[in-house]
Amino acid sequence: MPKLLITNGRVIDPSQNMDRVTNLLVVDGRIAAYDAQSDGSAEVIDATGWIVAPGLIDIHVHLREPGFEDAETIATGTAAAVNGGFTSVACMPNTDPPIDTQGTVELIRQTAVEKGLCNVFVVACVSQNREGKQLAEIAQLVEAGAVGFSDDGSPVHDAELMRRAFEYCKMFDKPVMNHAEVCELSQKGVMHEGLVSLVLGLAAIPAAAEDVMISRDISLAEATGGRLHVMHVSTVNGVEALRRAKLRGVRVTAEVTPHHFTLTDDCLRTFDSNYKMNPPLRGQEHVETIIAGLKDGTIDCIACDHAPHPKEKKMQELDQAPFGIVGLETSLGLVVTRLIAPGHLDWSTALAKMTINPARILKLNKGTLQIGAAADITVIDPDVRWQVDPAKLRSKSSNTPFAGWELQGRAEIVVVGGVVKLRRNALPY
């Protein structure tokens, strides 16, 4: 394996409170030294003016394989991840078949090794067949490599099952990751309930549908000592409940998507299904609360809920079109443009939410540039402005609401395990 010497970059590694311009040497796929000088044996990557960060991690990604290969595959999804600057993703189990057996976990891990461009970690089902009735064989799934448990796509509806999931997962110190939604309250809603839904006459999902579930899950985690990870929190009261729970010492973490800190329900006025996601885009007060939650640490990490769908499925009536958007290739740009550039977060805090924090939530041995760590590195141009072109996405799907947006900040070089997987200037565009 060739040596790499990344020179003159501003290395920001929140895991070791590092923020300084230095040369970083990679040998045998591992971080070997700082302040290294070229001896002619390493490939030199000039990172002058760029930021050298631990490889970005997204713990909420739908790779769609097996079962929905018309939308995405492990190969295309990880290509999208690398193009977006990510070196590790955790994939969700709402595949067909769902990831509720050792065999499926192994299939995904094996396919990722053979065809994937980045590290793929597997989140397996909480319940058998994602039916919310009986616990999946969690011990065996852990043995096969599952890093967390979720019925994502559906919430764990049954409170008693959720309680047992917390208790059982405690044995393995794995988090239960819940999509917080009380379905009786959301019904067939397609957007956030508010003035916009009232004007448009669209069936709506109240914020309370999320608030109630987050509060329930916090109570159960508190009662059992289990570990809760709240996925894509999107509401004022949800963030507030998390803040209070953390103060009490409840073992709870939370993520937010870039679209929930960027867009509001007002976008639905276009009736464009690329604004249809679950949880739905909320009102401005929710966006502001989420940003406050990112600033004060209530929200631990940023995860994009990458949800590819083929065009023909999204080009349907709003109630027929599926929920979700692709996000891996716009996530970093939105973090820079909407959080860092306006001064909400500094680089170190923002990168922590995309590296060491998600790694800690799933206990991944990732997200750091410490000497000896696997060389997963993302080199970012913090200033470059670029336009989102759906035709240029590496994802198999292009269902993004950010088409045509000008974003700031982009991954230029992505190294996974010491191997360069992306060189932006070598791309045809």
Binding site: K188, L195, G201, L202, E317, L318
Partner: protein, 330 residues
């Protein structure tokens, strides 16, 4: 009796300020545009009341009713309006469509359009579906009701009926009663009425009327009895049982107890109060038969005005400069 040439002269050309190719809702129309439609509709109403009942100005144009949701009166009204103008009509219902074969509704509409359609009249249970079609078709798209969002021609015909009786909307107090939450008619009425200067009250049970409606500049209330003495117009909306995922009130009997417009309630209104109902009505639920058929009721007039309004809309969309001078506009 007015002669055809005199009518054509009175209609004149479509004014230059009318720049629309589609009619998707009343929210985006200006007061001037709404008044233009109503003025032209008044002329067409005279045509309908005359012996000939017809004025051939859209010969060679083809209007298609593309209905994904059941309808009798709106569909018939549009078809008749098109024929009264000399246009050809075509009917397409989702029940006998290829939708069940997996075709998307945009593909379905594109296929029909390719047969040579000038105006696509669309009804759909999902809000925004006509808007989606307007972005994907080259012909005019008319929203004939999209879920609970808008039903612009219904709003226009309600307003036309009030204007016909009262001359102007300015200063009138109009109450929309009943299933406000699920009513596209309510929304179209609110936009149109407010633009023309009326005061609007939405009245119904608190599960169907939330304080949020006040943000649209309307008054909201839960008690029909409280507002009876001060309203000039009562528009009694149908309960949209088919749209309600969960029952918003305990029973039809309890609803009727609070909101049915009967003779006892009518006695407490202004003597010249006008009763409208967009129909179809659930007799005995929104309104009792004696009130529906009584002297204050304009329910059947609404139906006739519906044809006139739709003639005006088709005429404006098919005859305006954009559609005709530059071929098919973008």
């Amino acid at each position: 009796m007015t002669t055809e040439s005199a009518i054509l002269e009175e209609l004149g050309e479509v004014p230059a300020f009318w720049m629309r190719r589609h009619l998707l809702g009343l929210e985006e129309l200006s007061a001037e545009e709404i008044t233009l439609i109503l003025d032209k509709a008044a002329i067409f109403r005279r045509v309908l009341d005359s012996h000939g009942r017809k004025i051939v100005t859209l010969a060679g144009k083809t209007c298609c009713n593309l209905f994904f949701e059941n309808s009798t009166r709106t569909k018939t009204s549009f078809a008749l309006a098109a024929r009264r103008l000399g246009a050809d009509t075509l009917d397409f219902s989702a029940s006998n469509s290829s939708l069940s074969k997996g075709e998307t509704f945009i593909d379905t509409a594109r296929n029909i359009e390719a047969m040579g359609i000038d105006a696509m009249i669309v009804r759909h249970q999902t809000p925004g579906s006509p808007h989606l079609l307007s972005q994907n078709l080259r012909c005019s798209v008319i929203n004939a009701g999209d879920g609970a969002h808008e039903h612009p021609t219904q709003g226009l015909l309600d307003i036309m009926t009030i204007r016909q009786r009262r001359g102007s909307l300015k200063g009138l107090t109009v109450a929309l009663v009943g299933d406000i939450l699920f009513s596209r008619t309510a929304r179209s009425n609110i936009w149109g009425l407010k633009k023309l200067g009326a005061h609007v009250i939405v009245c119904g049970p608190s599960t169907l009327v939330s304080p949020r409606w006040a943000e649209l500049g309307v008054e909201y209330c839960y008690s029909l009895d409280d507002i009876l003495p001060r309203v000039d117009v009562l528009n009694l909306l149908r309960i949209q049982f088919e749209r309600q995922a969960t029952r918003p009130f305990p029973s039809v009997r309890e609803y009727a107890h609070l909101y049915t417009m009967d003779s006892e309630r009518l006695a407490r209104t202004k003597p010249d109060v006008l009763i409208l109902a967009p129909g179809p009505i659930n007799r005995g639920v929104e309104v009792t038969p004696d009130v529906a058929d009584g002297p204050q009721s304009a329910i059947l007039d609404q139906v006739t005005n519906g044809v006139a309004v739709r003639m005006a809309v088709l005429w404006l969309l098919c005859k305006n400069k954009m559609t005709n001078d530059e071929g098919v506009p973008n």
